[in-house]
Amino acid sequence: MDNLNIRQSEFPAQSATEHQGPLAPAAPLQLREHIIEVISDSGEGAQKCGQSFASIAAKMGNGIWTVEIIPAEIEPPPRSIAGASGNRIRIGSHRVTNGGDEADLAVAFNEQVLRGRLQAGALRRGGIILLENKWRFHRDPDIVAAYTSTYDEVIRDGYRVYEIPMEQICFQYTSNPALGKNMFVLGMLSAIYSMDLKLGRQQVAFTFRTKSEDVVDRNVQLLEAGYTWARESLDLGFKIPGSRTKKTQLVMNGNTALALGIMASGMEVCAMYPITPATSAAHYLSEIFEHVDGIVHQAEDEIAACAFAIGASYAGKCAVTITSGPGMSLKQELIGLAAMAEVPLVVINVQRGGPSTGQPTKVEQGDLLQAIFGAHGDAPRVVLAAANIEDCFYLAITARHIAETFNLPVVLLSDANLATAQQLFVRPQPKQEWYAVASDQTEIPKGEQPYEWDDRTGLRRRFIPGQPGGMHTLTGLAHDRASRVAYDPEINEEGIRYRSRKLASFQKTLATPTVYGDPSGDLLIVGWGSTKGVIEEAVDRARADGSAVSSLHLTYLQPMASGIGEILKRFAQVMTVEISWSDSLDDAFVSVDNRRYSNLAWLLRARYLMDVDCWSEVKGQPLKPGSVVQIIRRKLETGRPHV
């Protein structure tokens, strides 16, 4: 034990922090919020540690938002900058709606993954770093040199670094510290942030519920060891007071919420093909779906998955297929079939970076236009997007309801950020109507045809196999009201008109979205999807500085609700903020004649005939509220959002 070698860098005077130490553990510093990152090589358990810590914080009454830090490879080489794997956890006294700006405290299992995060600009200058120090004593002099040079660098740059012999301490409890270090860190963080150790024990028991009692016990020991060690050896102590809500809350990530939403929607068939980042929703759904008579079918490809879902929908209740960008592209021909033949279908696209294979594990919002327009011919469908974890749950239910009421495909967009981000929401109350009755099998009256479009709404009663008197052949060819292949040009146009009409009639059911902030002003930021929390936080900060800025979030992207044009007109400038590509007018050759806009900006410009500007980036990272504040300021000062 004599070579434990706990070294703490001198706290540099020039790094001004809100929580200057040293702090006695007995009197933790009260904070409004903190951002913590736990990072390791892939497989060392930093993600499990971060998720568990977030759950404990949630149980303490804190608002939380987590962001997974995922390397693209399953087993990237150890100790590599690109291999950083882990979790960012933003904890607040208040509701937290996004991952925030730079982290205040980072726990790193080696200095290379730390470098990766520093290069990504993820850590706040002057922030706290808890660093595994075993590398300082490594046999390989290159590793020692790499470690010490990084250490010296971060000290020089003003970080407050604690070197911690994590593995060495863990050896006292386990012969394989690589498998237990994460729970030691969980204990350490619990102590630093004044969490209830009892909740930590419960969390460990839950995390390892499928493992033996020995495994649970050993991990609880490691947790307690980390807790005790931090209390005795670190001068760090924070308290982020929680606020107890009266309502019971759930904590989960977006893909889990999607799976539960599908389970709650009454849908019974989910067909999918493995694709990142959508697949984890199907993993969880595969585990639970049979409890509601459901089945997850892993098809031979994305096209087959969509065809399978359409077949199931045609034969009864609406079915769902879940995918990510490339799979969405492959399904488009079948989405067109569902639109043409008026078969209800829910398609969930957990967007990732594109085009092509792009950035499979990274966030992007580049699929909006393909969700709306991505099939040949006129293939109307409804498109809606989840803004947060709660939306992932409820919109899956809504999507089925729309698909079955209007007999068309509904695309629900999520993204890689929501897929793995954990957040709290009020525990839903299951409703009978979510599980709408089984397929109609009553006899079709003589003379009634399968496409008797209502002249006003375009709606028609769907005939389902098993209904006597309803026999017809559904076809993707142009067809008349009897579903006969149409050779008459008038008939083709009639069908297209009514299928389009359904979107107009559906649009009449939508409420005008409400403006966040004042109803008029100098600038309106319009966004959709997972950026809602970031944009609203940025608007709050900019308004606190006196800027007349508001924001508008759109859940329904196709069709859009009435009244949006009027809202836009009440602002001097309108700009979308999105995670997709857009040209900057400051770039070479780019002018108003050829500028390519981000997805939503195209739509708003086309519909509302306004000079809607856009700011977007495609760095594969969630937006930071601090960056959006700067964009807002620049736009207000110069009329342009770019540097």
């Binding site: 949630a58 149980k59 107890r244 019971t248 809350q249 759930l250 904590v251 989960m252 889990t256 539960l260 389970m263 709650a264 068939v269 639970i288 049979e290 409890h291 509601v292 008579d293 089945i295 079918h297 098809a299 031979e300 490809d301 096209i303 087959a304 998955a305 065809a307 399978f308 879902a309 359409i310 077949g311 199931a312 045609y314 034969a315 009864g316 209740k317 079915a319 021909e333 079948l334 079939l337 709290l424 525990r427 839903p428 299951p430 009978q432 599980y435 196999p465 098993g466 209904q467 006597p468 008197g469 309803g470 026999m471 017809h472 052949t473 559904l474 076809t475 993707g476 006969r484 292949v485």
Partner: protein
Amino acid sequence: MSDFIDRLSTSVADLDEDAYILHDYEGAVSRWCHGCGDNAILAALQKLCAEEQLPPEKTVFVSGIGCASRLPHYMGTYGFHGLHGRALPVAEGIKIKRPDLHVFVNTGDGDCCAIGAGHWLHAVRYNMNMTVLLHDNRVYGLTKNQVSPTSPQGLVTNTTPRGSSLQPLNALAATLGMSNISFVAQAVDWLPGVLYDIIHQAFRHRGLSFVSILQRCPHYLPGHFDQYIKNPDRIRLLSHPDGLDPDAPYMHRFPSREAHDPSNLDRARELAAVSERLSVGILYRDDAVPCYEDLYRREKHLPIEAKMAALEREFDRFTVLPEG
């Protein structure tokens, strides 16, 4: 056959209004060319439905795109005429949702063996209870004379003006090489009695029955099958108590008969290989192969309350308890 006519006439005589007659299975008038083999397949299927008294509302014919895929329109049942190559996964979706429906798939050689080839081998492997009929006319008809994967080498078409260079794909041999096969047969459109008996056995088999049907295209490949039509000796008719009835009235017309036990996979593969004679009959069957829907879909028809309770149990796993 006569048995069937007896039954029909009996039902008419008894004025049994509940019995279905051939007319119940007729849809639109076919637009296939005169002499097209698809007409024979349509006739066999309508007869099968009547013979088996399949309720038209409980029967679905699923197809892709191509001449063969027009067949559902000509039936009086439900039909799903979808996308090129995608009939099989649609049919699987229907079957998983509704095991009570009788599902047939009509697919052409382009639909099944080219654009939809991936689905073909997986559908066979899933072994869902449905009858798959490959209408193999060895040429693209609807798009007007292009080479098909099953076209003979040297065939001149609009896309192979100097003759096709590739060996044809042997759909029958390919299917017999797939995993989890449960019923594989070959029929020809110009022998209606044999065609009917094979389709009938395919329908009666529980699992995916794959029937390759050589089908004449009088427009683009006139006379292509004449070598077999004009010379029945070139057809090796397979019979067995578990296959085509050795005492069937048509048997004596084929000198090259073979008693083939459909449980003999090795021999089935030899019979499917290209040779002097064309094998017609039930090549392989295994009634013990489990169906995908039986393995994966254990529907319990739970009441809504049970489903809501299951959801609540999942919520419990993620609940943040408001404890002191």
